[in-house]
Symmetry: C2
Subunit: 410 residues, 2 copies
Amino acid sequence: MNSFQTLSEGSVTSPAGFTAVAVAAGIKKENQLDLALVVSQTDCRCAAMFTKNQVVAAPVIVDRETLAANNSRLRAVVINSKNANACTGETGLANARATQQAAAEALGCTANQILVLSTGVIGVQLPMEKLAAGIAVGAKGLSADNGRLAAEAIMTTDTRPKRLAVQVELPGGTVTIGGMAKGAGMIHPNMATMLAVLTTDAAIAPDILDGLLKTAVNLSFNRISIDGDTSTNDTIFLLANGASGTAVADPDSLAQFGEALNHLCTALAHMIVRDGEGATKFVEIQVTGAHSEADAHQIANTIAISPLVKTAFAGSDANWGRLLMAAGRAGVVFDQSQINLWIGAQQADELQLVANGTPTAYQEKDAAAVFARPEFKILLDVGSGGEGTAVVWTTDLSHDYVSINADYRT
Amino acid sequence: MNSFQTLSEGSVTSPAGFTAVAVAAGIKKENQLDLALVVSQTDCRCAAMFTKNQVVAAPVIVDRETLAANNSRLRAVVINSKNANACTGETGLANARATQQAAAEALGCTANQILVLSTGVIGVQLPMEKLAAGIAVGAKGLSADNGRLAAEAIMTTDTRPKRLAVQVELPGGTVTIGGMAKGAGMIHPNMATMLAVLTTDAAIAPDILDGLLKTAVNLSFNRISIDGDTSTNDTIFLLANGASGTAVADPDSLAQFGEALNHLCTALAHMIVRDGEGATKFVEIQVTGAHSEADAHQIANTIAISPLVKTAFAGSDANWGRLLMAAGRAGVVFDQSQINLWIGAQQADELQLVANGTPTAYQEKDAAAVFARPEFKILLDVGSGGEGTAVVWTTDLSHDYVSINADYRT
């Protein structure tokens, strides 16, 4: 039994003391929501993880600086969509800092209490007048009811908002964790064009908060892959304001809170995969029998990003040769005569396709029936005799993916 | 001036002493060519390179064994399309050896003088009766006129045969190098579902032959990328029978022969890219200013395999943000504020898009005009101040790629 409760209508404003607002600031066309503010009524601690790409957007640089100077008195996150503020040079950095300043003035705090996030097209300067005006207007509309709208405002090619909250009954009282994310394209382990803001009213020490976020991200956002590309902007924040009055410090509370946070992040990560650009399939790939978890993860990832595998998913073609081909190019040594492969709709081990490196006498129609499902599982044991195992979640590569990305800027 | 002459109608039978045949053995449907033999009238030396995939097809295992025992008395290569003889276990190995035996009997030599190559679907056993019958029939039809037909017989999803020859006037006499290749999908550095057979009538010592092939492959087949996937079957052979009576041993001859071989391999590699599955663009990506050639190659490759980059090519969208994003995730450290990027139709440096990490004042229509070309060049200087430079050639990721690979087995 889970020790937490899922709030399916929950959002970043489900935890006590958080408000939000969504604004049509005019960065997108046609009066669409394109700006969100998530604000805590009191100072927050903040754990953060950023893209590992060498090319990073201005907000990533500015937020790293901000958090290095202050990770315990944060007040708000300003997020715009449609424009990534990446490859924008000194002007882009100045714009990110001006965004902090505009929010600080509107909210009555200092610039180093503001974090900024941007997502969208690369290489175009932010329309600062519109953005500043949007922030000023937005600051007057903050409400605990607006968490769901905020999740809409951060969408780019996403087709639906991604948000959720979980509630945990700890010995010291009830705490809530809320979250929202945007994804859709450029999704890959190490976070991809992915922005996520998590909020909680628990009181948590900074180093513990960091550890909890790292664990949760490693089990969730770092296990999903849509196209293998990673982004210049990926960022995830976990803000904790302590407004519940309940501390997470003892081992039992930590375990329970961690479990709930992992669940929230995994649920958001799955929403990102299901809403992957052009995605028609949700596929879980589990690799076992590797020498280490890192090896298993590497193999599972290589399968997940293979265009030949992903087009086979799109065609509902149980072309397992491509799964083995992709595993074989992962850079991990194994013995092909020890490979076993299963697929399944409910359980991963329903139908064995490969036994000790050679095809079983399975019926093609049974395999095709599994691959025709909108959701199925693959289990590959590489037979190295180790305990290394890893799961990743991915999608197919469809005609719509090509259409969306060939015409993205038009 | 080149010291060699290109024979545009040339093939593996252009060099003296080589014959070939193409047969419809019934492995493909509808009487299509699916079997080729390339035969030398005298013993050959052979240099070989194989896939680095952990999962390798039976012919790769058998050829490695054969060449370990005998790399100086080879007589023939038997190549079938439509069936890869991969993931076929002990039966597959026995079938590869039986193919050697059948060819040895038909040609009047021993089994360890025969090399075998297969390409096509994974996990299905070869139809040995058809194959053996095809070899027996084929051995009676060998001719020096059949090199071009042989290039047709090895096609799978290729839309056209890939073959060429070059002729070099050396101080000691004229030598010829012929070649054929098949590609189309799963193409990536480290050779991908790529088979190539090169023949020459030059007399070359085995270790020199190995070195010449390695150099040529590194500059050609290892510089192309269609989808980033590598195959279980990739193999390239360079057979030298010495029938011209001209030796390649002195430094001048070696340099001239090497230049011609590099040209032949590069030309065949370009044919593979141009005929990539669903390809509508031929793109040259050059990276300069890296600390090492390996770094430059890694960055160029990462750009070349990025689905977001390749869909931008397909859409003729000069979305250079994606080029920088892909460069940034290559795992090579560089300073984004030192990046310069150019594109061009004829010369790579015609239009500068990025200067010191920020966009120039280029006109979008000028950039779009370059990307709309069927063939264009990209030059990225990562500004690390090193001498490292590398070129790769790739294609776009189009709707047709998805169609071809979603429905490959149906």
